[in-house]
């Protein structure tokens, strides 16, 4: 091996280093060239679908007894057919399932007047729709809810998120009274910063 490397050194000197001569053993020791690609590896698959035989055109096995099938096939092949665990019943019929379309029955209406009575009514703040601003001494108008039948209201609540007024009417009370506007005022210098004020709705404030 030392002789080979000495020869290669001499040859390389002759050819001024232009050609690298390697010994056969050295070539064998080097690893095979590895080519890396930046692209993803190509997976080659056949576009042809997997061959599947669903039915033979010349004979239909469905509902055909093994005995009668024998007439269709060569006797030798028939010997190889085993029907262990399987029965062929020529009298068996296709089962037709019945599906009821009962959408109408499923949309049956329910009477729920009590539920809607429990649901509060709402009034939006209408202050932005006032054509003429209402003026008060030492107070400004924050909200205006209308129309509300004051005498029928049994409970009310202000939804601070939406600014809407929620209220429940006493549905048993026959007398409704006159309809009213309900005003929410911001009072300056008073003990309570907020004040609710009922005004008769016949008082034109629009």
């Amino acid at each position: 091996m030392a002789i080979f490397s000495e020869i290669t050194q001499k040859l390389s000197r002759i050819f001024l280093g232009r050609i690298i001569v390697r010994s056969l053993g050295e070539i064998r020791r080097t690893k095979p060239t590895r080519v890396d690609t930046h692209f993803r590896g190509a997976e080659v698959e056949s576009l042809r679908a997997e061959p599947r035989v669903n039915a033979a055109m010349f004979v239909q096995w469905k509902n055909t007894s093994a005995k009668s099938a024998g007439a269709l096939l060569d006797g030798k092949i028939l010997k190889d057919i085993r029907t262990e665990g399987m029965t062929f019943d020529s009298a068996r019929k296709l089962e037709v399932k019945k599906y009821k379309l009962n959408l109408k029955r499923r949309a049956a209406p329910r009477h729920a007047i009590a539920r809607i009575h429990r649901t509060p009514s709402t009034r939006r703040n209408r202050v932005t729709y006032l054509k003429k601003p209402l003026k008060f001494e030492h107070a400004i108008l924050l909200a205006l809810y209308s129309p509300i039948f004051h005498e029928k209201v049994i409970k009310s609540a202000l939804d601070k998120g939406s600014g809407n007024l929620l209220f429940w009417y006493d549905n048993e009370r026959v007398k409704a009274g006159e309809k009213s506007h309900l005003l929410l005022l911001r009072v300056f210098g008073g003990a309570e910063p907020l004040k609710w004020l009922w005004l008769p709705a016949d008082k034109k404030i629009g």
């Binding site: 949309a107 049956a108 539920r115 809607i116 939006r124 729709y129 309809k179 709705a201």
Partner: protein
């Protein structure tokens, strides 16, 4: 107009991806309910979706839910209010009463209460139902265009004692409570 004896009907159909439910509310002139009905939720199966195809939604909304609902209401209103314009004609056909689609507009208020102006769209009008609110966008069927002043008169008289559009939100809240109680069962 004596609006104490008159009633206003509200009909709505909650249509979601796989869920249909209808509700009808009839109120008096103060917004107090006199009748309220809602249907069971109808969830069509995959098979029904295939069988009915594109006609499923129309069939469910009009022939199944609306028909069941309006026929079940015992107290007949003067007119039906809707939020869905496509239900105007089927509602009129089933109930034999006028139906009006109603929505809050973003327009500035008209000069006076009761004022009604055409919008340029056929059958669509702006109605100033009261003095302190935005005008309402109302839509009527072609056959009711000649009767628009009569219909707006009814709506304006109701607006004196209630917020015309408010009962829809009440119905929505009532249906939410129904759904919540159903999901607990």
């Amino acid at each position: 107009m004596d609006n104490i004896r008159q009633l206003l009907g509200y009909a709505t159909i909650d249509s979601r991806e796989n869920y249909f439910r209808g509700a009808a509310l009839v109120t008096d002139s103060r917004g107090i309910p006199t009748d309220f009905r809602y249907t069971e939720p109808v969830r069509p199966t995959k098979l029904e979706r295939v069988l009915y195809g594109n006609a499923l939604e129309v069939y469910l909304r009009e022939d199944i839910i609306l028909d069941n609902l309006l026929k079940a209401v015992e107290v007949k209103p003067s007119l039906w209010l809707l939020t869905d314009e496509t239900l105007i004609i089927p509602t009129q056909k089933i109930s034999r009463l006028p139906a009006v689609a109603i929505a809050v507009s973003a327009r500035s208020p008209l000069e006076q209460s009761g004022q009604c102006e055409p919008t340029g769209e056929s059958g669509v009008f702006m109605l100033q139902a009261d003095n302190i609110s935005a005008p309402l966008r109302i839509t009527v069927s072609p056959e009711n265009i000649p009767k628009i002043s009569q219909l707006t008169q009814i709506l304006t008289s109701f607006a004196e004692g209630m917020e015309l559009i408010e009962p829809f939100s009440r119905v929505a809240r009532a249906l939410e409570t129904v759904s919540e109680s159903e999901s607990k069962q």
